[in-house]
Assembly symmetry: D2
Homo-oligomer: 162 residues x 4
């Protein structure tokens, strides 16, 4: 299963070619990843994966180690938030590969669902490393975290172009 996360576009995401800029795509995916993985007091109900406590005083934070993205078609400005399908392609000892597809949104959708199989605008993978806030060093992923995440582990994304 995948998380289906709405992310609002901003008109300022457009570049001079009047499409969402290639750099901003990583910004949209970053916001989806934060929604999925960070605990936050302000959230009405937590996302299933939200087990990493962050912020000043929190025991952990994350470090982005690697990213890869494939742009399949241009995205114009839309008021309906786009839908980021997010899943975990691999859980390592201290890292995880977060996979995404960015799709057209809809007024409402389920938080946890299979893919629609539609052609996405972009497909991407981010490798994040969990870091102990005290030591600044990578730290082991806990059993609690693995359990929280196992429901959204799927086949890793494969890119067409290498």
């Amino acid at each position: 299963m995948r998380l289906h996360i709405p992310v609002s576009l901003r008109w300022s995401d457009l570049d001079a070619y009047q499409h969402v800029n290639n750099v901003e795509m990583f910004g949209l995916l970053q916001e989806a990843r934060i929604t999925a993985f960070w605990k936050h007091d302000d959230a009405e109900e937590p996302w299933p994966t939200a087990v990493i406590e962050t912020g000043p005083g929190a025991p952990s934070h994350t470090f982005v180690a690697h990213q890869e993205i494939e742009y399949l078609r241009p995205l114009a400005y839309t008021r309906t938030p786009v839908r980021v399908e997010l899943w975990i392609g691999k859980i390592g000892g201290a890292s995880l590969d977060v996979c995404y597809e960015l799709h057209d949104g809809a007024p409402r959708f389920e938080r946890l669902a299979p893919t629609t199989g539609d052609e996405p605008y972009v497909r991407a993978v981010t490798t994040i490393v969990l870091v102990d806030a005290g030591t600044g060093k990578p730290r082991r992923i806990s059993a609690e975290e693995r359990t929280a995440w196992e429901g959204i582990v799927e086949e890793p994304l494969k890119f067409r172009r290498r």
Copy 2:
């Protein structure tokens, strides 16, 4: 009456001091203004004020001529979209003064409502000029536009610090 417009924060709106950056505040207000005033095919239902057609081929666009802002207290990251109260302080011949207050959001709120009177994070005014897309010159505000906007005309915002 005022429009109450939800705007989603992004974690990337924070600066190194861990609050929404003073520049980004204008970005949030820009998104609220676009929501209020631009017609867009994609909108489920238009906002009451949305009478300016924009985009390639549209007869009009707008030019930001002047802005003023007052920062009252710092805004931390929140998942609940903030609420921008937006009204028109003055309609001129070819320009209008858009006033805003940025407040804490809530899961749901009315689109058109009086102010709550709460202390805002920022208060701001943008003077926008309507421009004829063909000539690139300012153009008169139409009777249709005045009618569409009159329900959200209120006293202009006054700043404490000058």
Copy 3:
């Protein structure tokens, strides 16, 4: 006299209308202000005004309280850094009004010079408040700071449109 500060544009400062976005203008001015007022280890030679130590552990930081801007003409992308003329319009007890005009750049220019008197792209004022990092409260501007800044005090900027 005014500081003449070069600021590099980025292509990403353009919006879908292919000009530097009105919000980004505040970003450019923010970078000029930081160049002028922040001490930084990395600077080859400090700017005359650079007396505020910042960063973790520094005794002070600043808070932006108010901003006002007037847009006079659109700015297209250019590789030559633009020139921000920066001066102080007023020094208060704990605050100062930083005035700016944004002009076309040139390959080389003096750091401290009178205005050229050319028509700027934008004119703006930022009121910044000096804050004691320990207490989080505004703190008095010191005699040392007044001395450092007096050479760039000029008449406050006046706006056409109010």
Copy 4:
């Protein structure tokens, strides 16, 4: 040989962790790529590779098809522009792989030089496709372009983490 391109950081590139944000890294590389490959009236002297005419009315533009990046260590704010080493890892029929390493800058450096071999902050590759502005379709890379670029063709960058 590689191009050595200075890119100015902005304080706003920092995120709440006080380092240049992982998304902004792509923004910095985008600016370096534009410097290298776009002809621009405003440039004092063109970069060796600058043979793609862009902008309204230009015969070509480019489309970013794929990007990959590896983050090796965090980058703090610095006033000295960083140095992007840029080379071409592969020239295809209608596309090219632009490789980059982001390094500490220096007050002055040569535009065309071998690598210093220092440990970079990030290493990345962008695949760009050349597009005919009239048809919107990919177009063949010309002999003139190949000649202009051959001096900066080097071994493609290899990533540690896959």
